[in-house]
Subunit: 467 residues, 2 copies
């Protein structure tokens, strides 16, 4: 069908009329549009002009055609609601619930469910020194944008730290970001398209789910065992469907505290090769380790594996700084995306992070921190067992205990009851794509040393048992 | 067609076989797959099982069906390349070119094309004081995540600043972000879907284009006049097609330095109502203003208009902090997205920004800055005219001069020639979706005071004229 210049203008006018009626709500979502004949008569145009206008509006998605019935107004595009993507859930076990409750908590609230440590567990004095040092830095450090890759000496230092863990990487393969979360977000922008399928662990860090929803991908999970993902199931899932990406923590797994074994790591990488799967290894808990666990990035040499990390957990979550270590041919595309979406961000935080990492006391801080966490782990583990809450495993390190509640108790009920007493807990299903962790709960031992945590927990469990 | 459990398993096995052959490259992109009959015989399954498997792989996008010819391996999903989205362009006028050259420039390079001021034009001393003050702050300020909305006293202060410009907004409607760029990025995540159509000005800030490409939307531009967008064309474009969003600067337009007139602002808002268009008003140059220009957000009362801003241009681009002011019912969805994609980011930078803004000297800094810019504008404008480069208009304020080069000179050629002499320029077409600004160039007057800028420019123009 060819349309001359005048026909094209008339079509545009008809389209504009319909658009306007929809915009000013004289035609509501779901309403039937006038018949072709009626509208043609009404606007003094030919039937074929209306047909063409309707077809183009259908192509734009503004109206729908129901063959044999007519044309209808499509539902308006509403803003994206993360809580409406994916299966409907109780708000208390929505992946964003724990984040929001933890971030919004008052100073006096207790937060055994949150994912970070109290201020006095972090290197406050080093940070104060770093701020004073920075107050004497050159003007550009204080006022200018960061470079596309980010502060060179910090990238060199991160490169040496990765080499210590067996990951050989040049500073040109390291891209600084504003946080670990932003690292994964940038990689998702780079690697996935809406509708792609992404693999995660069950359970996994709840914000992986929230972040992946924002990328409009399908999330598939594989159960996590004490030595890594259930590798037979992992193989089966890969064979069934094409997955673009797998996101995991290998050294200290969140929330379980499990450690990937070399055998599972090796099989995982073979499957990644076989099914052209890219893996994001989130190594954000690296500095908590007491003995080095295998890293996928070290085995793989950054071919299929991308490692990300940050300093939010051991240095500061106020002055955040993260990084991506990836194969050299991906860096340029990642830099373009970083500039497009953040421009040259994060310079001051990178300067601060470098200053603290160079400060001789940071290593001492980490030594002390590991011991303190290890003592808290024993103490909190014991107190939890006393009230019938049993750790799934004894983690080698880190701050998390993934625990089974007494039989028949729903962790979501317990979390809701505890919140009324200003205690923020982390119910299991917030971590579970398959919603299979209703009787589990994650405890952050550094935030669970107050007696009130156990008083409120005991009462909340009693309350949940009576429901 | 119904498939029993065993049939389904066989189908999955056939699919896994094909997936594996593609993954291990025994079937390359574009290769023809075995015929249905041949594969069925080979794998000892029925023809209908292979048909089902191929159909599902087509649905997944892994293979393609060419009717009458057979099935072919689809091209592998490659990582997103921003430079490959949208029309192909010379790298020198790619929207990301100016950003990368400016951010990557050596300290000794001259950057008349960049979008920010030299360090000594920014409030260095206030920043040093703020860093020292922060070194004595409470532990949580130094180590903890930010709250979901961001630092309350800073949101209150931003609310008062907006009220001064006629935008009435409660602190609960203000969301802190890590930068102005991140504000727009978050809003795009919230408001647009891949394939939506977004309106920008021609010319417009080049990073709007790069950012919108990352969101996989179609970008449409309307010419900008000295008083705002060409409003008749704007109306025509809206009538022709459904646009989801319009992104613009209203007070001091980047790159032109133009100021929106009240008449155009009013017509623009009427069109936005008529065509259900949301507007992002990027007010990042607000603090440069000498006399207050009309704000869309003020006229509209934040119904259809969202205002964003930041302090990267007047306070620091190293300690960045931005904000979004939007209608109350959108804040919750934006907070969810902010947590999902950044977690509680930017606390330290928000503390620093607050400290500088509260410092009595900031207002004095701005007064001095405006005078200094105004003097530079006169001086640089005069020197440019001397070599035949003529400003499109005399901006009321700000740092940019949008200039026409001598007839027949291509600004992209000039930019390339100047780069060889370590001078980063901003060629017009980097700002133009329609590629209509080849003879224009943006100058940042604060970065154009060195004699060498004009020597290199003169030589580069001569060189371009001889091509």
């Amino acid at each position: 069908m060819t349309i001359d210049a005048r026909g094209d203008t008339l079509t545009s006018q008809v389209m504009a009329t319909i658009r306007q009626r929809i915009a000013n709500r004289s035609l509501l979502a779901g309403a039937k549009l006038p018949s072709i004949r009626a509208l043609a008569r009404n606007l003094s145009v030919s039937n074929s002009t209306v047909v063409e206008a309707y077809e183009r509006l259908v192509a734009e998605g503004l109206i729908l055609s129901r063959p044999g019935s007519g044309f209808y107004v499509a539902s308006q595009t509403a803003p994206l609601s993360l809580s409406e993507i994916g299966p409907k859930r109780d708000r208390a076990i929505d992946p964003l619930w724990v984040s929001r409750q933890s971030l919004d908590a008052a100073d006096s609230d207790l937060k055994p469910g949150c994912g970070w440590m109290p201020p006095d567990w972090l290197p406050e004095e080093s940070l104060r020194r770093a701020l004073r040092t920075l107050s004497r830095a050159d003007g550009a450090s204080l006022t200018d944008y960061g470079t596309p890759l980010g502060l060179a000496p910090l990238r060199q230092l991160i490169g040496r730290r990765l080499a210590d863990k067996g990951v050989e990487v040049s500073p040109q393969q390291i891209l600084l970001t504003e946080s670990g979360t932003q690292s994964i977000d940038l990689l998702c922008r780079f690697l996935v398209e809406p509708g792609d399928v992404v693999l995660v662990d069950d359970p996994c860090y709840f914000n992986f789910q929230a972040l992946l929803r924002a990328h409009r991908v399908t999330i598939v999970s594989v159960p996590y065992t004490p030595t890594g993902p259930d590798i037979d199931l992992f193989a089966k899932v890969c064979a069934e469907r094409r997955h673009r990406l797998y996101i995991t923590n290998s050294a200290i797994h969140n929330p379980t505290g499990a450690t990937l074994s070399p055998v599972v790591a090796h099989r995982l990488l073979k499957l990644a090769d076989q099914f052209a799967l890219t893996i994001i290894e989130d190594d954000i808990f690296a500095d908590f380790e007491t003995t080095a666990a295998p890293r996928l990035a070290a085995f793989d040499g950054l071919e299929r594996v991308i490692q990300i990390g940050s300093f939010s957990k051991t240095l500061s979550a106020s002055a955040r700084c993260g990084f991506i270590a990836a194969r050299p041919d991906w860096i340029d595309g990642l830099v373009d995306l970083k500039i497009a979406t953040t421009f040259g961000g994060g310079r001051l935080n990178a300067e601060l992070t470098l200053s603290v990492l160079r400060d001789g006391s940071y290593r001492k801080h980490l030594d002390g921190l590991r011991q303190r966490l290890s003592r808290a782990m024993v103490k909190v583990g014991g107190r939890l067992r006393n009230i019938g809450i049993v750790p799934w495993l004894e983690p080698q390190a880190g701050m998390f205990l993934w625990c089974k509640l007494p039989d028949g108790i729903d962790s979501s009920d317990v979390a809701k009851a505890a919140l009324a007493h200003h205690v923020v807990l982390a119910p299991g299903n917030a971590f579970s794509v398959a919603q299979s962790a209703g009787s589990y709960m994650r405890f952050n031992v550094s935030q669970s040393l107050d007696d009130r945590v156990f008083q409120v927990l005991t009462a909340a469990i009693r309350e949940a048992a009576e429901r």
